[in-house]
């Protein structure tokens, strides 16, 4: 089995995000990045399949400037076999469909049996790339899964619905699955893994290498502006020393008749 795991690099959870001067994106020159959390679960699931069947090949791919190589090396350190970085000036500001078209070119060239990726990314929260990629490849998909198991060549997966309910569906390979957070326990790269990762292949490809032109991945969706949401009435902020704040807190709880 050959598995393609699509990883997105996103701003670190603890990074302080500020708007870029042009108001179209965040100022990202001096912040830390990490692998999108949802994608970590997808990668872990692929590595678990490989743990059970060592003949499995796990290829990780990420679209982005050279900083994404660090995330790809992390994935190799965790146990992925090969990495592919896609970057091209034509992909700056690309929309989800342009990203999906680029990933589709990789998935076709690699002839993969299974594509795994996160349900959404923690930066844009679009939740579109997975189903788009599946449609472009002409394979079925299931989104937001919390488990998968192979039942005689068919995958049985649990999709998370609302309020704790799960929908169980079966789908044939090849297919694409998007992972919900919490679906497994994500491993850390071992020291040995990190050493081995340095020798594993990491190929960089341009749109041309994928047989695509900038026109073929022109974006239909553009971010005109991002901004801090208008504040509503907001909360009444308690100020003072921690003991003064604590007394005010007690006062509020008493007003509610709960003390």
């Amino acid at each position: 089995m050959k598995i393609l795991v699509c990883l997105k690099q996103v701003p670190h959870k603890d990074a302080r995000l500020e708007l870029a001067p042009d108001g179209k994106w965040i100022a990202d020159a001096n912040i830390k990045f990490e692998i999108n959390d949802y994608d970590n679960y997808a990668l872990e699931e692929a590595l678990r399949i490989k743990d059970k069947d060592p003949a499995t090949e796990v290829v990780v791919v990420s679209i982005g400037p050279d900083r994404v190589q660090q995330s790809l090396r992390t994935a190799l350190g965790m146990g992925a076999d090969r990495a592919i970085q896609i970057w091209d000036d034509g992909l700056a500001g690309a929309d989800s469909l342009a990203i999906a078209k680029s990933l589709a070119a990789v998935a076709r060239a690699e002839k993969v049996d299974l594509v795994l990726m996160g349900l959404m990314s923690d930066d844009t929260n679009f939740a579109l790339t997975g189903p788009m990629l599946a449609a472009l490849l002409g394979v079925p998909h299931a989104t937001g899964i919390v488990s998968e198991k192979n039942e005689g060549g068919q995958l049985e997966v649990e999709r998370e619905l609302e309020g704790g309910a799960l929908e169980v569906v079966k789908l044939p390979l090849p297919c694409l699955l998007t992972a919900q957070t919490g679906m497994n326990e994500v491993r850390y790269a071992s020291l040995k893994g990190i050493m081995q990762a340095k020798k594993k292949p990491l190929d960089k490809k341009s749109l041309g290498d994928l047989g695509l032109s900038a026109g073929a991945v022109a974006s239909k969706v553009k971010i005109e502006k991002i901004y801090t949401p208008p504040k509503g009435k907001g909360a009444e902020i308690l100020s003072g020393s921690k003991d003064e704040v604590a007394q005010k807190f007690v006062g509020k709880v008493k007003e509610l008749g709960l003390l």
Binding site: H141, A165, V168, A246
Partner: protein
Amino acid sequence: MAKTLIVGEIQKGALRESTLELVTLARKLGGDVVSLLIGSGVGGVAEDLAKKGGGRVLLADDASLANYNLDGWQRAIRKAIDAEKPELILISSTPIGWDVAGALAAALDCGIASEVIKIEPDGADLVFVRRMFNAKFDARLRVSGTPRIATVQPGANEAYAGSESGSVVKLDGVGGDARTKFVEIRVAPAGGHDLTKAEIIVSGGRGLQKPENFEAVLKPLVEALGAQMGASRPVVDAGWLPHEYQVGSSGQIVSPKLYVAVGISGAIQHLVGMKNSNFIIAINKDADAPIFEVADVGIVGDLFEIVPALAAAVKTAKG
């Protein structure tokens, strides 16, 4: 706006509230409103949607559509689009919407704005407004080409309350095979930790930094207040607390007299689960955290200093 197609959803045999929210949005934009309803033996629900503002309701009714399946829905939506040639297609951002909308956009090679909260006309064009970076920022999107698809966050718009005249038209040829086969719906066994009846809930988030701090830092405040402990999704995902502690759209929906959010930034899916609480107090080091938008009272600062002080003050007050 010349024509909008609403893709409706059925939940527990009735029209899902989010579908009526799409009706509000479509009617505000003006122009023709047509709807699509997909299911098996759901003619009555289609009649209901027609009366509640869905306009001409196309009904894709077939035994093979009794449960959601990707291929069946794609087929039905494509038929509705071919028949109606809408300029805008509205789908709710639900587990079904997530599954179907992106694939539809790729198949049609058209633009899509997902997880939208508002659509604003701007001359002849539309601006799609949505959250980004887990609600830290808002974004205005432009989408080119025809048709355009928007998926809309449930709860972001009022459900349409008017009564209108409409009609139901049956779509032919909507049945068929699906590659993804429905097996069953599993409901996770209810844990022993029912938060829905709690008077006071103190919930902890990622700001508590490690699992031991739920016991060492949060629990004294929980006990002082006689509260129940809750948690945000990242805490449960990390395995720090079991799922039965999770408050949010995929956990428990709560409305206690007092909800205290400690070290929780306020991702949308958490807010959905607790915003109807009678009174909300939030403690967070980031003054811009979205949780302060739904909180009545906020404390900005280091929870590791503040929470022990709160626990001590509550204990003293109780005597």
